[in-house]
Subunit: 312 residues, 2 copies
């Protein structure tokens, strides 16, 4: 089933979509507040069947644009796996043999339909469509075999990237590194570090949703079509089959050093361009000069569409 959050009578309320304009509001169930998606993700394995039974018989509630919200309005962390699309292999000269990346704050999230705000002075910005994992019950040291027990579901994210801000925020410095000969000593190495700051964390740079598809409703998370449309033109279409590290690898490795918590979001890395296909690649659409709307669809999960506002 699909679940998310709406704004109802001024407060967040868990909801299941019935169609594009109506939802079924969830009741408080088994001690889980109907306002708290974090608590529902944590307790899904015991409460899920009751939630499913509760959805359907109720009356549909119409929601307007202003009542939409990110499916998880305030996750504790949003982790992004970098360069995980197999098509990136020819761009990686040397890299780690495990999933690596960065995190983004919840303040960068916007809901389906909410404008992405860009500035001309910040240069080009391209949309990166991502399959995102939603963690259910948290944990540390999660095994590959047990990883899916910690996955609540999946959603769609459009992870915006602004390479001019990346270039402006790059330090060329002498960084402290362990010595090759003895990793317990240090040496200074010439380094170029572009911290994933403004170019990834800016407000509105993380459209999400509109809904979470629970894990059991996604038959194969590594065989999903990821399609990005700019003004109804498909650029590009890709498949989650191309992800180098799979969902279970990512949950396993991330939790080996960082406790995963209920409602945490992990981005699996962007769709690029289907091998051998014609058409534009992910970085070829500059929303700053072209404007919106921009739309991301993942098969079986949903379509996330956002307008674009550009100012100087």
């Amino acid at each position: 089933m699909k679940l998310g959050t709406v704004i109802y009578r001024g407060a967040h309320r868990l909801a299941a979509p019935l169609d594009a304009e109506t939802v079924d509001l969830l009741p408080d169930l088994m001690g889980i507040s109907a306002q708290n998606m974090l608590s529902l993700t944590e307790n899904w394995s015991i409460a899920g069947e009751n939630v499913k039974d509760a959805v359907g018989p109720a009356e549909p509630v119409p929601i307007n644009e202003g009542q939409r919200a990110p499916p998880i309005p305030q996750p504790m962390k949003i982790a992004c796996i970098a360069l995980n699309n197999g098509a990136n292999k020819d761009r990686i000269i040397k890299g780690p043999n495990h999933p690596a990346g960065f995190i983004k704050p919840s303040s960068s999230l916007v809901r389906h339909g909410q404008p992405i705000r860009l500035r001309t002075a910040s240069g080009r910005a391209h949309p990166e469509p991502d399959l995102a994992i939603i963690i259910g019950t948290g944990g540390a040291g999660i095994s590959v075999g047990g990883a899916y027990d910690h996955v609540f579901g999946y959603t769609t994210i459009n992870d915006l990237t602004a390479p001019l801000m990346r270039a402006e925020d790059t330090f060329h410095d002498r960084a402290i590194h362990p010595k090759e000969s003895n990793p317990f000593e240090i040496e200074y190495l010439n380094s170029w570090v572009s911290y994933p700051g403004r170019y990834k964390r800016t407000d509105t740079f993380e459209p999400i949703g509109p809904w979470i598809a629970t894990r059991n409703t996604v038959s194969d998370q590594h065989d999903l079509i990821v399609r990005r449309s700019h003004r109804d033109k498909v650029v590009p279409e890709d498949s989650t089959a191309k992800l180098a590290f799979e969902v279970s690898d990512v949950v396993n490795f991330k939790s080996s050093y960082m406790t995963l918590e209920m409602g945490d979001i992990i981005l699996m890395d962007t769709a690029l361009k289907k091998a051998g296909s014609d058409g534009l690649a992910v970085q070829d659409v500059d929303l700053t000069s072209l404007g919106g709307p921009i739309e991301v669809t993942i098969s079986g999960i949903g379509t996330l569409a956002n307008p674009v506002e550009v100012r100087t």
Copy 2:
């Protein structure tokens, strides 16, 4: 005054320290729950005087080690300013002319007294003592002149860094950058990117506290002594006078692209070594091989001490 969070009768509770072992528990005040530091930071400008009046007459409550907690157990973001110590200037060959950096998740926080957990396989780890800003009322587009109206107070953080994990997680890749000649076009540049992942975000890599000193009790945040002691040996002593970007610059610039929220934490960058002083620099203490305890003191704010546990 100083404020923080303790665990009392199984739940978080706001408290003011009376001495090292006793606290005064805060009551619910003006609609602010006595369990919620985020709400107190947001409403400090209107509730502060009442909180001050409420502290003192009450009976002291003894707290044991297990009752300590980070002063803000679950901030929405922890932002770190990189290379902001003036002594780093000779390490920066080229860098941005504004504060830049990365963020860390709340899952990396540990309280005063809680062990820092290190692994031999992860190589050396050095402690980085930091003055941290605690945001009160949040905002976007905050002016330099109005910045301190958004500062609730200051605390002490020991921002651990593990350079072997940084080296292992560095991508040497062809990154997408804007063209020098036309920033609306792209080119691929050879790039070395070490995402601030494992080497900064690992569980226990962010000791914090024990208390927040409210802003009015810190007479000059740019004239504080930052002293790190390893097994009672001072390594190093530094001053916040050396910070290149000041607190008001940082609040101004960060809020220009990223909404700051109640209880957000911003690290101003580490103390290094007092210019001209003898003794070890910040990166010379390897806690993985030497063990703990490690202690950070910022004058007028407090002393944060943590043992170290090392395993293979």
